[in-house]
């Protein structure tokens, strides 16, 4: 791990001069077993591989997007053991034994998750690049509200309830530059109401 973290730190300083790993040093590899979209996957990875790159480059699950690679856009959002995470900000080897759900695991064309269908009905996307992250986040946000987890927009911490302000606050880590926000909120509301009714 020492080698990996040193190299990662160096990446931010392209003209740095001090201690560097010797050229030609081989990457540190590690085995990790994950359950991805219900399927057990065994990988041997360079320990510097993010969870996002493990999915995209090693499992060829390219639905999760790399929009910034440092946790600022949300396009890489996945569900790990039921909770959402920015997959670009975490290393795959940390998730031995975890259950990972990517956008591909929520539903497929012809067999859509209700949130995917609602996004289509409400035109909750334009270019579609942030969409997998928006949808994974949306699914998790409804679970978080259901579980009574408060947010900055929660007026009474003891009473967590669905509202559009709650959704806007909780979804604010998922940027949509095309500006589909009102349509995304409408889609989430519809799924929330469908789940209750």
């Amino acid at each position: 791990m020492a080698c990996a973290s040193a190299a990662t730190a160096m990446a931010a300083m392209p003209t740095g001069t001090s201690a560097r790993p010797a050229g030609g040093e081989q990457p540190v590899m590690a085995k990790v077993g994950l359950t991805v979209n219900g399927e057990r996957r065994e990988l041997e990875l360079d320990t510097r591989t993010s969870l996002l790159d493990a999915a995209r480059e090693h499992l060829h699950l390219t639905g999760s997007k790399k929009g910034c690679d440092h946790g600022r856009c949300g396009a890489c959002t996945m569900l790990v053991d039921g909770r959402r995470i920015n997959a670009c900000l975490t290393l795959a080897v940390m998730y031995q034994g975890s259950e990972i759900t990517t956008i591909e695991g929520l539903g497929q064309p012809g067999d859509l998750h209700p949130m995917q269908a609602a996004f289509i009905r409400h035109d909750g996307f334009q270019c579609g690049f942030c969409t997998p992250g928006q949808i994974c986040s949306s699914v998790a946000v409804l679970r978080e509200i259901e579980a009574g987890i408060p947010s900055h927009a929660t007026a009474d911490l003891g009473k967590v309830a669905f509202s559009e302000d709650e959704v806007r606050e909780r979804m604010s880590g998922n940027i949509c530059r095309c500006g589909a926000y009102p349509n995304i909120v409408a889609a989430i509301r519809e799924v929330h109401e469908g789940a209750r009714g």
């Binding site: 995209r56 999760s64 064309p109 095309c178 926000y181």
Partner: protein, 735 residues
């Protein structure tokens, strides 16, 4: 097909599929992660390598020396591309910045090297081992300081350096009511969610790029020119593009470096620009300084209107054409528009959503608000009074269709504008000062040559192929609607294939020309296919009606599919435009209405409600068109309240070069947005009587927000963005 007279009645007018608020046909792929974007591409048969870009660490100067030996020796490294081994590189015909620095560095984060390795992690680590020694030179980075060095830009297809009518100076000097103010708009980043990305693969002399660009024809031209290879040896594939907003007009450094890296490594290479590199490596909307002078009689009629704009760019780069909207928006016999261009050594300034109109209207529509206030007139009434139905520079040239007044009136009614209190700072709602503002919107409706191929197969499916792109605009859907309407089929009988330079040429997505142009090309190809079908089935093509999967004439009817029984029918054609744009001013119009709350203590601004009313010809897909408008409004809110690339004027770069520092609107910033389209068709625009809407929504949007802030607080901010530090000094005393 020639389009040189306004469209008459045609099969599109039936509106069985066109004009319906259909779901996007690419929705199931985009919502399931199965739509392939450029850097999603992989081929199990070929071992992909990864390229990591090293950006220059200085704003201007030259590379005195480079040591790539440690990078080359690092684990997994296959090649290091620099100017020393890249061979001779040209530039494309659109962007002016060079894709690879060396020995000169023209701007900060201009690429100096590409490190190619077996894995992304190895490429990134090795990139950190590239040692560059620079010699810094003096650069010009501050637009305000360089303003006096600005000169008239070169005229070009998108640039009219000066436009005049009457005698502006004399009329302005004698006008009874006048304003003369300066406005500033900062540099903006496209900040599309998909970083610039390319996978490049060589097969002998033939190059294939899976890439993210808006205009395939420009991309083929520019990569061929840059690398010095034949256009015929290049294929570009961009079926899905994760947003562009003008920032992916043609190929950029990712495409050039991936091509060079793939050649050096002898393998396909994937290059994505790291997000923190994007803001200085590629293009941005340039900052402007604008001076607006308006003179009017006491009755509110404009007698003189002058708009000047200063912007900067790298040598050979174009100006920001901020004065363009003022040429056509309001009446007034005496007019003066002038652009000034300074040389700056910042990253390249380029087109971003509604180039010209977006920053121009940010200034003009505040000026109009100020003028209405000075005249003691309502801002809506002031604009209505100064409407014109002809080009003010050339009164013999009418607008093809101009419903600005209708947009203003309907907007005022829908929004409840009559409840606005004209005197600023009067309305309180709890801790919020509440204000309303509005602005007009105008954006050109250009149309360009566009071609398509359509096939009817033995299952009765129609397949459309064109190199048009869908950057989130809805191209897949409106093209399917067009073909379905023309061939008398439901939408699910049409397959659309886009974004491959092997398909017939379109103008791509840009300048709000994509929708009208590409559907016109598909219309032309479908006319040819209808003729082929009619011949096969023994009908006279001009009599035949295509409806419900049948072809009918007289009392005979045949299934459409039967025409392909003997083999697939293929037709290809395109549309070419005559000189209708010289006879008519082709524009789209709108009106924005905004209500903001401004925190009485902190001066934090929140948008509470916003409405746009738009008139843009026939709306092909109301659902996708509404999304385009709210997207423009959202970007307008960003421009009003937060977006600004901060220039380090000593070192010469944009400091806030990631999505943490360059703030764009997030969910919490955007309330529900309302859009209303006027019923309109524009026969002079295209055979579908349609115009684009992709850029109209941002035009005027930011000024409407700024005007609402003024109405809420009484503070007039003329230097965007309208942040709380600019308001705090002038806020009314908190009660």
């Amino acid at each position: 097909m020639k389009f040189d007279t306004p469209a008459g009645a045609n099969p599109i007018d039936r509106l069985k599929v066109v004009g319906k608020p259909t779901d996007r046909i690419d929705g199931p792929r985009k919502t399931t992660g199965t739509a392939p974007y450029a850097n999603d591409w992989h081929d199990p048969q070929s071992r992909l390598a990864y390229g990591y870009v090293v950006g220059a660490g200085i704003g201007k100067g030259r590379i005195a020396g480079m040591d790539v030996s440690r990078a080359e020796a690092a684990a997994g490294v296959l090649a290091v591309v620099t100017a020393a081994n890249a061979g001779k590189l040209d530039r494309g015909a659109f962007y002016v910045a060079r894709a690879l620095a060396g020995p000169d560095v023209d701007h900060y984060h201009q690429a100096v090297a590409l490190v190619v390795a077996e894995t992304f992690e190895q490429a990134r680590a090795a990139a950190a081992l590239v040692r560059v020694d620079y010699v810094r030179s003096e650069g010009v980075f501050d637009l305000a300081a360089a303003k006096d060095t600005a000169v008239a830009p070169k005229a070009g297809p998108f640039v009219s350096p000066e436009a005049k009518a009457g005698d502006f100076e004399a009329a302005f000097a004698t006008a009874p009511v006048r304003i003369d103010e300066s406005y500033g708009t900062p540099d903006h980043a496209h900040a599309m969610m998909e970083p610039h990305a390319t996978v490049a693969s060589w097969d002998g002399d033939r190059l294939t790029l899976w890439t993210a660009i808006q205009q395939m024809n420009w991309g083929v031209r520019d990569i061929a020119k840059t690398l010095g290879i034949a256009k015929g040896n290049v294929r570009l594939v961009s079926p899905f593009i994760g947003g562009g907003f003008g920032g992916k007009g043609t190929i950029l450094s990712d495409a050039v470096l991936a091509s060079l890296g793939a050649r050096a490594a002898g393998r396909p290479v994937k290059v994505s620009l790291p997000r923190p590199l994007m803001f200085n490596n590629v293009t941005h909307r340039p900052a402007t300084i604008q001076r607006i002078r308006i003179g009017a009689g006491p009755d509110g009629r404009i007698t003189a209107i002058g708009h000047e704009s200063w912007s900067g760019n790298l040598p050979d780069g174009p100006p920001e054409t901020a004065t363009e909207p003022t040429r056509l928006l309001y009446a007034g016999p005496n007019r003066l528009m002038r652009m000034h261009l300074a040389r700056l050594d910042l990253p390249e300034g380029g087109a971003m959503r509604a180039p010209g109109e977006a920053p121009g209207m940010m200034a003009l529509e505040i000026a109009m608000d100020e003028m209405a206030e000075r005249l003691g007139m309502d801002p809506v009434a002031f604009r209505v009074l100064n409407d014109t139905q002809v080009d003010p520079e050339n009164p013999r040239r009418p607008f093809s269709r101009r419903q600005l007044v209708e947009c203003l009136r309907r907007g005022a009614e829908l929004f409840g504008w009559e409840r606005r209190v004209a005197k600023p700072g009067q309305v309180r709602d709890g801790r919020w000062l509440v204000g309303m503002g509005m602005a007009s919107a105008i954006r050109g409706a250009p149309v360009m040559r566009s071609a398509a191929r359509v096939r009817l197969d033995g299952r009765g499916m129609v397949t459309v192929e064109t190199d048009m792109t869908d950057i989130g605009t809805g191209s897949y859907t409106i093209i399917a609607q067009t073909a379905a309407e023309m061939m008398g089929l439901p939408l699910d009988r049409v397959v659309v294939r886009l974004g491959d330079s092997a398909y017939p040429e379109s103008p791509g997505s840009g300048g709000q020309w994509g929708a009208a142009s590409s559907t016109a090309g598909v219309y032309a190809a479908c006319v040819k296919l209808r003729e082929a079908v009619a011949r096969r089935l023994g009908f006279n093509a001009t009599d035949a009606v295509f409806e419900d999967g049948q072809v009918r004439a007289g009392n005979r009817s045949e299934p459409l599919v039967r025409a392909a029984a003997g083999g697939e029918l293929v037709a290809e054609d395109g549309v070419e435009y005559g000189d209708l744009a010289e006879w008519f001013a082709l524009q789209t119009f709108g009106a924005h209405f905004v209500e903001v709350g401004v925190d009485v203590d902190t001066a934090e601004v929140r948008v509470r409600r916003m409405l746009a009313v738009c008139a843009a010809g026939r709306i092909l897909s109301p659902k996708a068109a509404r999304s385009q408008i709210i997207g423009g409004m959202t970007m307008g809110i960003g421009a009003a309240l937060m977006e600004e690339l901060a220039v380090d004027a000593r070192r010469g770069f944009f400091v806030n070069h990631d999505l943490a520092g360059y703030e764009v609107p997030v969910h919490a910033d955007i309330p529900d947005l309302q859009v209303s389209f006027l019923d309109e068709i524009d026969p002079a625009a295209s055979p579908l009587k349609a115009k684009g809407v992709g850029e109209l929504g941002i035009s005027g949007a930011a000024a409407a927000v700024a005007n609402a802030v003024h109405n809420a607080t009484g503070v007039r901010v003329r230097d965007y963005p309208v942040t709380l530090d600019k308001l705090l000094g002038g806020m009314p005393e908190a009660a």
